[in-house]
Symmetry: C2
Subunit: 368 residues, 2 copies
């Protein structure tokens, strides 16, 4: 278990502020984890993440397992030393990539066989092996291998898949307990948009000695209403003594819904991915910097933003760089978007501390 | 003229340390200027250049004239404010790009007509117009429009082209003197590898009231010996009261030859361009980081390097990022290469100050 302090609980919703320490790094929630797919958040390095102020980032086990090969991480003494990141790290299980990337994959009761996106070579992930890989990577938080079915899968498939995820969860726990070290293992519950399955899956996962509980299988194609319905249903059932992590979500709008249902941790490629395509998050919603209207805008991307991009460069300059396909433009916009996400969740936390979360939520729901 | 102090003169060669101030920024020479083609040194922003310690960077008039369009720079109040760079800026004349880039161009006695690489639209550069463009860009140092013939052009062509460059130089001076402001104009002499033409061209250019003298038409395909021969010949003839700028050069090895012939300023895309292809400058020569031998190298790219990349990351990590085509890898290597160039010229300067330049030169000639 992660020793966790609940610093504040909203009286009108399930929103909360928690604090725990991983590797000597204090993590306050609600918190967003940038995604460093291949050992770097795209366009940034670890010094940048430190300057942006993120205490924890996410690494992709699928990619890190394939490249660099395991001897490289081992010789460095793990992903922290390899990337030079001083904060904490969470690795996903790789399952999501295997099930969502193009190419051959074959699922059976014991694991999944897949081909590498890099060279087509054949590999296999099984629950215990995935814990071993994440142990070698040196993640502070490891995730169970689960199957994450698409949002439009039939109920029968989701139910069967959920049972498989439960078997695998038990195997992951067994492997984890054989050598827990300083690491932690989070369980993932599934169940699609079916509230009874969600309830059943949450109970199963929560009965296992996981350090944290992750909500899987959302943001996989279902409607925003369905996501809200699931979160509203499971929120009150989540064990308050453990961190709650909503995987792969999302936008500031999604954060509001999730926080009010008691979610603590988020990760998403959105702020970094859309930046590379010219999209910026601002206090007035998303904008497309490639749009001709920004060609001559002397003001910053977001007037209200205190990030070093908005403090030093005009929207026009970033527009120019993006149009010229200069990676500096992608980098500046990545920086801004992550700073926006950081500030948004800092403000959400502050609103919970000062008993103003519902007002904060309503204010932003209207704005975004 | 730029008020310039000669801080040291080597007694055994023509090497010298000079100092002058542009826009309140102190520039000590020998000095290297990174190339910011489209308003940014590729993969970096202005804060990075400041942290790296470069007091002056180069912008490409050809690219900046085409994109962003002139109204954008004008609304910002020039390139400095557009890019946020606090140091000084030099712009080339655009001639080199026009003559070296693929695509239609037509030279006549009064200028050159060319098509944009961006949209194929037709444009024309004439000597006076190019000074006007650079004036609008707000460059601290502007360059004359010249014709830069290829290294293998016949002597008759080089001689004729040189005469054209001289006519254009006079026209540039006339336009410049109509409104000099705080800006400066450098002249460029040509003459290929023909020492008599070089002498003739240098005299012509030097007799005009330019703030600095640039050596054009080198590093355009001639042999290293030919470049050395030209520099050795013209070095003693360069007006000692003005800065000497060797355009488009080069490698640390080239710097040694040029500095001993009295060159003060350099620019080159090499350190940044080769970085994007995995090549690093080190104290032991160039290396290719993509090479399999760096896959597991825990040591930095260059053990002797104090740059923030070598202080924080293994060669193995940079190798991994480059192999994965992560722009973070290109950025880290760009940073390292520029830091290497900066340190190399800082050390050259220091060696001149302490009367050790010939020893410095011989030491590095052996190493590189």
């Amino acid at each position: 278990m992660i020793p966790m302090t609940i610093k504040a609980k909203d009286s009108r919703t399930l929103a909360r502020v928690t604090e725990f320490t991983l590797r000597g790094v204090k993590i306050e929630t609600p918190q967003f984890m940038p995604v460093g797919t291949r050992g770097a958040v795209k366009t940034l390095d670890s010094a940048d993440l430190h300057e942006l102020g993120f205490p924890i980032v996410l690494g992709n086990t699928y990619h890190l397992y394939l490249k660099p090969e395991s001897d490289v991480l081992k010789e460095h003494g793990g992903l922290h030393k390899f990337t030079g990141f001083q904060g904490a790290m969470l690795t996903d299980s790789g399952g999501f990539q295997i099930f969502s990337l193009e190419g051959m994959r074959k699922l059976d009761a014991h694991g999944v066989t897949f081909r590498s996106v890099y060279d087509g070579s054949e590999h296999r992930f099984e629950p215990k092996g995935v814990v071993q890989i994440q142990r070698a990577i040196g993640a502070d938080i490891m995730m169970c291998l689960d199957e994450c079915p698409p949002g439009d899968a039939p109920r029968a498939y989701i139910e069967k898949s959920m049972q498989l995820t439960h078997r695998w969860a038990e195997q992951c726990v067994e492997e984890f307990l054989s050598d827990p070290g300083d690491q932690h293992l989070f369980g993932i519950f599934q169940g699609g948009v079916h509230l009874d399955l969600r309830e059943q899956s949450l109970k199963f996962i929560q009965d296992l000695p996981f350090s944290g509980i992750a909500i899987g299988g959302l943001s996989v194609g279902e409607s925003r209403e369905d996501m809200g319905r699931v979160l509203t249903h499971v929120g009150p059932l989540l064990d308050p003594a453990r961190p709650h992590y909503l995987m792969g979500v999302g936008t500031p709008h999604d954060f509001l819904t999730a926080i009010e249902c008691g979610v603590d941790l988020f990760d998403c490629v959105m702020p970094t991915r859309v930046a590379r395509h010219g999209r910026a998050f601002t206090e007035n919603g998303q904008i497309n910097l490639l749009n001709a209207k920004y060609r001559t805008q002397l003001a910053a991307i977001d007037d209200a933003c205190d990030c070093r991009v908005c403090q030093n460069y005009s929207a026009s300059y970033v527009h120019h760089l993006l149009r010229m396909k200069e990676t500096t433009g992608q980098r500046l916009l990545t920086w801004h978007n992550l700073a926006f996400f950081k500030r948004f969740l800092d403000a959400a936390r502050e609103s919970i501390m000062t008993s103003q979360f519902p007002e904060f939520r309503d204010h932003w729901r209207q704005r975004l």
